[in-house]
Point group: C2
Chain length 413, copies 2
């Protein structure tokens, strides 16, 4: 029953775990465009055709031969003959002869021969047959050529891209209505503890409801995975080991919460160790909250023993499990979304340990202030009332009130 583990930094633990996690390991599946937002491309998407499929005007005005406009100014316009108009959505009926101009709306197809467009503001009607052109345009000016946006065969969207609205639009522009994406990793979620009852049960005696299954489910979704809640297992070795075997068989990764602290029987580590090689990689992180964490791999699948305290569990999820899900999808660890704020009170920390402090953000006198939320990591309310997390790295022992700090925002998406 030794309490002394060699604590690891999150970076060490991640490096060790990542050795066992080939990136982008999940199989591909098709997603329709309406379901594609946020999904991760499994292949580069190449453009089957040029975009735009024809040269287009970017302005309302006249399609011209650029050479015809050379030297034109407001004081010394040149004159070109009106040769009809381009209608939206139709190919021009004839090519444009030198010395001629064709009315063209924004987005209209450039007639053959034309190589530029003059904005209507720089033209003036002269007579029924001719217009004045009062500025010079270069070849290619105010137009976009066939394939200038995307050439045929060019990479439209890269592999490993979590699709954003612009990417979805680009796919639609090329008529690609379904895209190969990585299947969402399925994360099995098991809660342990003889005291834990389902969230829809009425606890009696010393019982409490299973909070972690729900907070971790939501965190899995947020990270791009699919939660698979496998319920509550009591603190008995064989049922727990059986539940874990089932979880490993059915899911891509496993989160088991509670029991990773040093209880009298160390059940969760024993059960995890029974799953096979390489087994437990890391036991104990030098962070607060979140120290009693287990990271293991068995049958090629990562298994996380998350602390039972709800705040600690979510913290460790954000530090390690999220990156695991992203790696399986082929994404790098998330770039944290941070804001700068002025710390509201002194904060101490132990040297050699990373502290993650919940803070509320308050706008006061035009400055954003980071107000630490006090309370134990067993108290979910401390996280509910927080807007973000302030990291105190191992080498820092105190942060002073008034210092500017970076706060990582907690988001819903």
């Amino acid at each position: 029953m030794s309490k002394v583990w060699k604590l690891h930094t999150v970076e060490e633990a991640w490096r060790e775990l990542a050795r066992y996690l080939p990136p982008a390991s999940l199989p591909a599946e098709e997603a329709g465009l309406d379901a594609a937002l946020g999904r991760v491309t499994a292949d580069p998407v190449l453009s089957p055709e040029p975009l735009p499929p024809f040269p287009r005007s970017l302005v309302d005005g006249y399609a011209v031969h650029a050479a015809d406009t050379h030297g034109a100014t407001e004081g010394a316009p040149t004159y070109v003959v009106i040769a009809g108009e381009v209608r939206m959505g139709e190919a021009p009926r004839q090519a444009l002869a030198p010395g001629h101009a064709m009315w063209i709306p924004t987005g209209g197809m450039l007639p053959e021969g034309a190589d530029a467009a003059v904005m209507v503001e720089y033209t003036r009607p002269w007579d029924a047959a001719e217009i004045e052109v009062r500025c010079s345009v270069a070849a290619g000016e105010n137009v976009i050529g066939r394939g200038d946006d995307v050439a045929p065969g060019a990479e439209l969207v890269p592999v490993g891209r979590a699709l954003r609205p612009a990417d979805v639009g680009a796919l639609a522009a090329l008529g690609i209505l379904s895209v190969k994406v990585r299947r969402r990793p399925v994360a099995a979620i098991i809660s342990t503890g003889n005291e834990v009852v389902a969230a829809d049960a009425t606890p009696v005696g010393g019982q409490i409801r299973d909070l972690n299954a729900w907070s971790i489910s939501a965190a899995v979704r947020q990270a791009g995975g699919e939660p698979l809640r496998l319920g509550i297992v009591s603190d008995v070795l064989e049922p727990l080991a059986a539940a874990l075997r089932d979880a490993v068989a059915r899911a891509d990764l496993v989160c088991v919460s509670g029991g990773s602290s040093v209880g009298p029987e160390d059940l969760v580590p024993q059960a995890i160790a029974s799953l096979g090689e390489p087994g437990i990689l890391t036991r104990g992180l030098n962070i607060r909250p979140g120290k009693p964490t287990i990271i293991a791999v068995a049958q090629g699948k990562p298994i996380f023993g998350l602390p039972g305290h709800p705040v600690s569990g979510l913290m460790v999820f954000g530090l390690i499990v999220e990156s695991t899900i992203r790696r399986m999808l082929g994404l790098p660890p998330a770039r944290p979304c941070v804001v700068k704020a002025v710390l509201d009170r002194d904060l101490g920390s132990s040297a050699g340990r990373s502290d993650y402090v919940r803070v509320r953000l308050e706008e006061r006198e035009g400055r954003l202030r980071a107000v630490p939320v006090l309370g134990k990591s067993a108290m979910i309310s401390t996280l509910v009332s927080a807007d973000g997390i302030l990291h105190i790295p191992p080498q820092v022992e105190v942060l002073r009130a008034g210092e500017e700090v970076e706060v990582e925002l907690m988001t819903e998406a």
Copy 2:
């Protein structure tokens, strides 16, 4: 056919629009916990019971009367009589008499009479009946009292909260499996243009596929809304006005893309103006890209004439439409997620105009560099290859290579 509009800043346009948008205007509906992530609470959620429902130990060790430990040190321990153990998930069988200690695991229910817990590390077995206590604990130490996390009747989750994993967990902890949230605003999406064909069609002649309907749909989802694609309407006033009337009747807001520039017939503004009072509030924003934007309100619903160029349309969406959706949900404008980077090349801008420059982020020599993506706003590829947006405010005319700039990240979620 005047090209001269009084251009407005985004802030002016937003202030004007917001006057017509009561916050949190959407009706409430119930969402189950599995669908609650990211949804916005329509009421404060009050706790029906205390959390935890009983006083719990936060450590593995012994439940004690704190007074019995006073003065105890490693050199001068005190002795208490072992009075059995607390079992997880069960109420202790008896109260704890002074001078006694009961073994208690983390999360165990404190016996009546006990007011603190001593960590097992600070105890030692003495004989079969007694243990040594080698440190002093204060009343309340290493325990959490009944209702200390959330008192009964206290606000568990505030109104207007976009639910995060911790919030979902807090609801589960109190047995609240369904929560009142604002209905997602339905955003009708109409594309205009005789040249536009559906994304699943094969364009011929001067036709192009409808990209905007898909990029805007995805942006609506990202902002928390529900897209309702109403298809493509040709550039004819009455069908367009009819489509807009239908959209206003069916949706909470309307996005019509294309045609807001000054074409020969100004159809979109005319059609929008036909919808009723107060009508068009803003026509033209002092931004690039995104200038030819129309913002209107009719029948109490916001209507956006978005530029037809895909990059411009998404930019205006992010500057105004997203905040509109969030306001209807009861959320403030999104806090932008920014990173600092070193600008890679000089960037010029016109005084009095806000420029939004697409940039790629590249890690070079340990520093993040912001590399502007060049290309016209008609080119969706410029947005696909960008990682973020650099805002050059109206009073800035040039940003120099080497300057530190803030880049707002484009995200998928």
